[in-house]
């Protein structure tokens, strides 16, 4: 992938967060133009088309599922959870990067986040949507999913709050709500900008409606800032808690290979790991096709790569501890589970996972790789595959040979498993396309603050 000319990468020192030569006006125009004046390109239509097509596949698979039942999937006894849960955990994990970037980096006062947080958050929302589908669909009787919510009813029956699945319901729905609010709050000022820039009456109306009469009043900014900061503060523990809860789905059980204390930290790390991989997979094409190289600079890509490297190492540590514990506890079930992962029928997948998640990403140590867009893209894809495999290994290999040798079994996904999985990817792509087309994919007002002239001059202080 050729470098964008507007970005000069100095031999030494970091690339800037925002390429020089920008003013309030240029920043505003450049970003809002993508939404308002830029013509809908053939590329966009095709990309969107692919997404739409796969979404149709998803709808088909789901309809058939509802007609026949979960029996159309490969699940069985003993492997009662299959692709559905694997995909659920995978998607949820991917979502995490968005919140991390927008919330945690905001708290850590990392200005470079400003140009990537918007679409990272969008990515979070869509990923969580995809994730949310699976727990619903994998139910034997999906139409009764609402029974997991505590609502008063004549039977006086309630959810069972000791079950991690109920925790999940609360965690994931809270996570989605908060992410949505956070994202929308961040959008309000930019919606104002779009409202004021819109050419057509309809656009002005639509954006105006969403902007809710935002006018950038100093008093508003004050409340706005503190609310935004507090939201970030809330989202931070939330994002950590969500994948922790997801990991409880496994850790709370008695299944060897699930019942481990290392799960929460290593799930969270894994989530961020895959999340940043996804951010890169999205950011790289976007900055290319919308020539945003000056706003999403090598600095962003490099930092993301570094975070991947770190979280990747944490994940590796997780595997290590798992193995160590299995040996140290000298619990025959755990030990066999480990042996079975490494040498059993699913061993090839296990070693592929080790390669994807541990071996391959080590190339990120090299600065040259971190600055080669192509390499980053490839590594990210590999990591995404690796993280999916990790969840597959955790779910399937733990279940397929648990306590009683008499009830050991094997799991083979059916075509319907694949349709559903690929379908959600399609939905995700489609949603992202719509987003970049109709909303500012980079936070305009936060970009403005990155400009030097945004600083109030010294003598004024």
């Amino acid at each position: 992938m050729a470098e964008d000319p507007t970005v000069e990468v100095p031999r030494t020192g970091k690339a800037p967060v925002l390429a020089p030569g920008h003013t309030f006006a240029t920043v505003t125009d450049k970003i809002s133009a993508i939404v308002l004046s830029r013509r809908t390109t053939l590329g966009w239509v095709m990309g969107f088309g692919v997404g739409l097509l796969l979404t149709m596949v998803l709808l088909g698979a789901v309809s058939y599922l509802l007609v026949k039942g979960v029996g159309i999937w490969g699940i069985n006894m003993p492997i009662a959870w299959g692709f559905a849960i694997v995909n659920f955990v995978w998607w949820i994990g991917i979502g995490h990067a968005g919140t991390l970037i927008s919330a945690i980096l905001l708290l850590l006062n990392q200005p470079w986040r400003n140009s990537i947080n918007r679409f990272a958050e969008a990515m979070t929302l869509f990923a969580v949507m995809c994730a949310g589908m699976f727990p619903l669909l994998h139910l034997g009787r999906p139409w009764l999913a609402y029974w997991l919510f505590p609502y008063p009813n004549t039977m006086q029956v309630w959810p069972q709050f000791r079950s991690p699945l109920v925790w999940d319901v609360f965690a994931v729905s809270t996570y989605f709500t908060v992410s949505l609010l956070f994202w929308f709050v961040g959008l309000i000022p930019d919606l104002g900008t779009l409202r004021d820039r819109a050419h057509t009456r309809f656009a002005r109306g639509a954006y105006g409606f969403l902007a809710m009469g935002w006018r950038g009043s100093a008093r508003h900014w004050k409340n706005y800032e503190s609310a935004y900061l507090l939201l970030a503060g809330l989202a931070t523990p939330l994002v950590v808690s969500v994948h922790t809860v997801v990991s409880f789905d496994f850790a709370i059980s008695v299944v060897p290979g699930w019942h481990t204390t290392i799960f929460p930290p290593y799930f969270v790390a894994g989530a961020i790991y895959s999340g940043f991989a996804m951010v890169l997979v999205i950011a790289i094409p976007i900055r290319k096709f919308y020539s945003l190289g000056d706003m999403i600079t090598m600095r962003h890509l490099e930092n993301s790569a570094k975070i991947m490297l770190v979280t990747g190492l944490i994940v590796a540590y997780g595997y290590l501890v798992e193995g160590f514990m299995a040996w140290y506890r000298s619990d025959e079930f755990d030990f066999f589970m480990l042996k079975n992962r490494m040498l059993g029928p699913y061993a090839p997948l296990y070693w592929l996972l080790i390669f994807c998640n541990i071996v391959a990403p080590q190339v990120l140590w090299s600065r040259r790789v971190r600055q080669s867009v192509g390499a980053l893209f490839t590594v990210s894809i590999i990591v995404l595959i690796g993280m999916w495999l990790e969840r597959f290994i955790i779910v399937v290999t733990s279940l397929h040979r648990d306590y009683l040798t008499s009830s050991w079994g094997m799991y083979y996904p059916t075509k319907w498993d694949w349709f559903t999985y690929v379908g959600t990817i399609g939905f995700f792509v489609m949603a992202m396309y719509l987003f970049v087309r109709f909303l500012p994919m980079i936070s305009i007002f936060e970009m403005r603050t990155l400009l030097p002239e945004a600083e109030v001059e010294a003598e004024a202080k």
Partner: protein, 178 residues
């Protein structure tokens, strides 16, 4: 009280610094009912026009507490009072298991209060506001900075205030009709 013929006067500046200085002068001049508009948050300006503390944090605290306490009580009531039943030999009030949901409810309550509290404090959504009547105000969301002295201000005087504003060296001063 009789309604002033105009909403106020709007002075336009092209740098955050000018706006800040202008705002300070206006405040020093004794104007209190005034507002500043900028395309991005400027800490000092809101200070300058006398808006010191936001009440959002308090609102959020309340939300969090409501969510958390409500969350735990709900679980306790459901599991131990309303429908007590032996689940896997665990005690009815398995409080350690209730912590997760309690936590999530806390966050949810706080977040909802934060957003809707902020909107409420900002009187948003507000479909109509006079400043939008000024043509140039559209740039407030791009690269222009505005200071507005409201007619409701006791010291407001159509001519004197305009002269005062002109003295701040704005790009231009315009009247904000209702």
């Amino acid at each position: 009280m009789k309604r002033a013929p105009v909403f106020g006067l709007l002075a336009e500046f092209d740098s955050p610094t000018d706006l800040l200085l202008a705002a300070r002068k206006a405040y020093a001049e004794g104007y209190r009912r005034l507002d500043a508009y900028s395309p991005f948050p400027i800490e000092e300006v809101s200070e300058a026009i006398g808006h010191h503390h936001s009440r959002v944090p308090l609102v959020v605290l309340v939300g969090g507490l409501l969510g958390g306490i409500g969350g735990f009580l709900m679980q306790y009531w459901i599991s131990a009072v309303n429908y007590p039943i032996n689940v896997g030999g665990r005690p009815l009030n398995s409080w350690p298991a209730f912590i997760v949901v309690t936590f999530e409810m806390t966050i949810l309550g706080a977040a909802l209060f934060a957003v809707f509290g902020m909107l409420a404090l900002n009187r948003l959504p507000m479909p109509y506001h006079p400043v939008f009547n000024v043509e140039r105000f559209a740039f407030a969301s791009k690269d222009r900075f505005f200071l507005c002295i409201l007619a409701a201000d006791p010291r407001f005087d159509r001519t004197l205030t305009e002269q005062f504003l002109q003295s701040l060296g704005p790009k231009q001063v315009s009247e904000v009709p209702h």
